[in-house]
Symmetry: C2
Subunit: 106 residues, 2 copies
Amino acid sequence: MSRGGWTLESFDRLIHEPARLMIVTILNAVESADFLYLQHETGLTKGNLSAHLAKLEEGGYVEIEKTYKGKIPLTVCRLTDAGRDAFSRYRAQWEVFIKQTRTSRK
Amino acid sequence: MSRGGWTLESFDRLIHEPARLMIVTILNAVESADFLYLQHETGLTKGNLSAHLAKLEEGGYVEIEKTYKGKIPLTVCRLTDAGRDAFSRYRAQWEVFIKQTRTSRK
């Protein structure tokens, strides 16, 4: 279905997965976010959040920095430029989708 | 993340999967569609399309009717009312998402 400006292939599955979509949406709205903040906001378990962040890091969308705040270890996550671009493209596809679909023809 | 009006749980995964999203979007725009038409529009293999339609039928979103046009067997697919409602809800969630996100804060 190429008519619509959005196709099966064009959806970025790295972002489309709902848990990762939440993570990327949050990170897109901020400069950077601590792991615990992300965990609180997404409601994901530590293991799930780690796994999704690792995938996003592998894909070049997220940078993860291990640091300290005083003596407390901090894991700071931020979107890369590639990640912000990918989010923009993904969001733009949904804008097209919204414009080109109607809720029902009943 | 409940602030946004869309949450991890609220995404209907039966529709969210990209291949099924294409199928549902096409069916939402028409009264009914033949299997071969859907296959052509989605670019899915026969096996993949069958599998996704079966899931949508199990979920009560699609009705599948085996019939004939003359002597040619036809498989006619249509969205149920529940399927149209689910599509409307899913689409509405993306409208909220578009309104509440910005492409970047760079």
